[in-house]
Amino acid sequence: MSTRDPRLLLQAAPLLKQQLTTRRAMLDVLIALLPATLAGLWFFGLSGLLVLSASILGSVVTEWLFTPAETRREHLLDGSGFLTGLLLGLTLPSSLPLWMAFVGGAVGIGLGKLIWGGLGQNLFNPSLVGRAFLQATFPNAMTTWTPAGSPGDFFHLHASNLAMPFMHVEYDGVSSATPLGLMKFEYQDTSLSNLLIGNISGCIGETSGLLLLLGGIYMLWRRVIDWRIPASILLSVAVFSSILYLVGPDRYPGPLFSIFAGSLLIGAFYMATDPVSSPITPRGAWIFGIGIGVLVVLIRIFGGFPEGVMYAILLMNAATPLIDRYTQPRVFGRGSVGR
């Protein structure tokens, strides 16, 4: 027993806190992305690895450059910059020139996050800002897909990866359409098992539906994402694509294809659930998710692009402050239900 009185703090209650921290939540998202990332590397080999690295590097370097020296360490250690780069990289084609991936990461962090005031202040999902920038600037490179390779081809590098900035890009080998492209332009279906496993053409991290689901379930279990958002997105996509499918089964894809093809799963579980750019209220989360689902189906079926997840999420990001404003919860003891 000490003889002198302890020096006491006067920290105001509550002194207990639940376990999860914001840093741990970021780490959980990274853990959840690990299986799908590894699958992406398996299917797309060294090219995939380099594209991922370039976009992560673009994000992290930009964050390092544009944060004050005193808080730089902390900002980098919170993991959000790394996560933005990784998420962006997972939605890029493996044949993308590396410099473009780097620029995408830089734009995502710079225009998607830092310019708004840093973590927690941004209106749009930073990785999708980076991706939208790339899509608008380099439409050709962003829509040239190579099929998933076999494991033996790991060290096969696309020539286009090493293209110099602003130079003409040569694409090697066969490019092949994504399942959504096949469906939209050639009315050709892809088998569900291939969509689940991921040996199809598409972005590095979006092809394996099963592993994306696995990571999503992990995040739901850890409660780092709001279950309402993926639930409402998947539900509304299923409902609206079913309606169209019933109208014209030969022209429109069925609900299962709509859910597992393209970037819907990675969007629903990893992008739309970004808490910063999604509504904070429970009712708002439902509206947000249903809105994304409707927009995805509309863009895919009636728009000019085969895929619409990115634009659907960005559009609903823009509506988030408005949704929050009109879905404030009813305060206890106030309003109509005051029995």
Binding site: M1, S2, D5, P6, R7, L8, L9, L10, Q11, A12, A13, P14, L15, L16, K17, Q18, L20, T21, T22, R23, R24, A25, D78, G118, L119, G120, Q121, D226, P275, V276, S278, I280, T281, P282, A285, Q328, P329, R330, V331, F332, G333, R334, V337, G338, R339
Partner: protein, 447 residues
């Protein structure tokens, strides 16, 4: 099985589930703390107006003697916890790092400390006003921690009537086991106190709400309950803040008390179990409120205990009786860890509202590193009042206090569930408290 039981038992919406830490003291019977040399009775240890001293420096006082009378209707009496001599009436240390005017009594080391005998009051033969006066005279306050003078709750305005007496045995604050021990050790006194209340308030029935993590208390009460008594024991989900008055009403009766109204507007009087036992003690044995059960616990205490402590005992003596503090204690709290008051000095005395004395050593959670709000919404799902704490914290940081009224800031009961739930470790409820106190003050200038 217990999860299933939890699911089907009653509760309220939202709230949080902090770890209980009750196992350290739940099975320890209460011990009576020996008398010490000096007692300090702050005059403002209840809510409302401070009490007015009836004694002067140098006066001899007997244990149980009235030493201060209510300063207003919303105020209550103080009685001497000990036989001795008034040493000073001056400013003494008070929780929260401030000072308060107090009566300091030096114990007479040769006194027997026998309680002054007084004629018992027949509780069956009182008018409503007499009952209110008796409760005020006995110095009884809400023993759950708020220390609101109980007689104020019992003086019902014309035209209103109390139908239900709701007894709060939720004890949702982690660490605390004082109410638990009281229910386990003195169920007859509790039931008797409820009878006194039922009779004098003219209520139809009484309900005791107890959280499911106190099966011993539920069993003890059910065992002593007579079939003729209109009293029932209702097991509740284990959830914080179940013990908040309006949450408890929601859990037990399924009713929401409208904002700005009181439980009595719905015909309900809510009382902590400690308060009810204090009423029984006064009417049966003539013992005014001069002592209470205090749970001494926390990672910084050598021997956690449940103690019957005379009011005014310095915290230093209580801790010494419990084997002293361990090294590395950096925070002492009076009350529970979720809503208690920090104390800056070991000289602070035990008060009528002191349900616990908790000692904390350094954990990452006492002085956590704050991250930006990522709008994860956990605080919204924690808030039992369905407020938007994230928004309120942002506005408070920007000092936009007036704007916070649009988000019902004044409805906040400061339970701290939001701060508990925040993964970015933002002191949300602290920011809200700042705003509320700013809004209550008449503004001298514009910000």
């Amino acid at each position: 099985m217990s999860a299933l039981k939890d699911f089907f038992s009653r509760g309220f919406a939202h709230g949080v589930h902090p770890q209980g830490f009750k196992e350290h003291t739940a099975d320890l019977p209460t011990q009576r703390m020996p008398f010490v040399g000096r007692y300090v009775m702050p005059l403002n240890q209840h809510l409302g107006a401070p009490a007015v001293p009836l004694v002067a420096v140098g006066d001899r006082v007997r244990r149980g003697q009235l030493i201060a009378e209510p300063g207003a209707f919303v105020s209550t009496s103080l009685h001497s916890p000990v036989t001795g001599r008034v040493r000073a009436i001056a400013n003494r240390r008070f929780p929260g790092g401030v000072f308060a005017r107090s009566i300091e009594i030096e114990t007479d080391p040769y006194a027997t400390q026998r309680l002054e005998q007084r004629p018992a009051v027949d509780w069956r033969d009182l008018t409503k006003d007499e009952f209110v006066a008796q409760v005020q005279h006995a110095g009884i306050v809400g023993m759950g921690g708020a220390a609101f003078p109980s007689h104020v709750k019992y003086s019902i305005p014309e035209g209103q009537h109390i139908d239900h007496v709701l007894v709060n045995g939720a004890e949702c604050e982690p660490f605390l086991t004082n109410d638990h021990r009281l229910m386990v050790e003195r169920p007859e006194a509790l039931l008797h106190g409820i009878e006194i209340l039922l009779h004098n308030l003219g209520a139809r029935e009484a309900t005791i709400g107890v959280e499911l993590n106190k099966p011993q208390a539920i069993a003890a009460l059910e065992q002593h309950l007579k079939p003729s008594q209109p009293i029932s024991v209702v097991p509740l989900q284990v959830k914080y803040p179940q013990g908040a008055e309006k949450m408890l009403i929601k859990a037990v009766y399924g009713k929401e008390v409208p904002a700005g109204e009181l439980p009595r507007d719905l015909g309900i009087a809510v009382n902590n179990v400690g308060t009810v036992v204090a009423i029984a003690d006064w009417f049966e044995a003539g013992v005014p409120l001069i002592e209470r059960i205090v749970t001494v616990s926390g990672p910084g205490v050598h021997s956690p205990s449940n103690l019957i402590v005379p009011l005014g005992t310095p915290v230093r003596e209580v801790l010494q009786y419990c084997g002293g503090l361990k090294d590395g204690v950096i925070e002492l709290v009076m009350g529970g860890p979720m809503m208690g008051m920090p104390i800056a000095s070991l000289d602070v005395p035990v008060l009528k509202g002191t349900s616990g004395i908790l000692a904390f050593t350094e954990t990452g959670n006492l002085r956590p590193k704050e991250y930006p709000c990522i709008r994860c919404g956990r605080c919204l799902e924690a808030c039992p009042y369905f407020l938007n704490p994230s928004r309120l914290a942002r506005l408070s940081k920007a000092r936009l206090f007036e704007e916070m009224k649009n988000y019902s800031v004044m409805d906040c009961v400061e339970c701290g569930s939001c701060t508990y739930a925040c993964p970015s470790r933002i002191p949300i409820v602290q920011l809200i408290r700042t705003a509320k106190s700013q809004l209550r003050q008449p503004r001298s200038d514009d910000r």
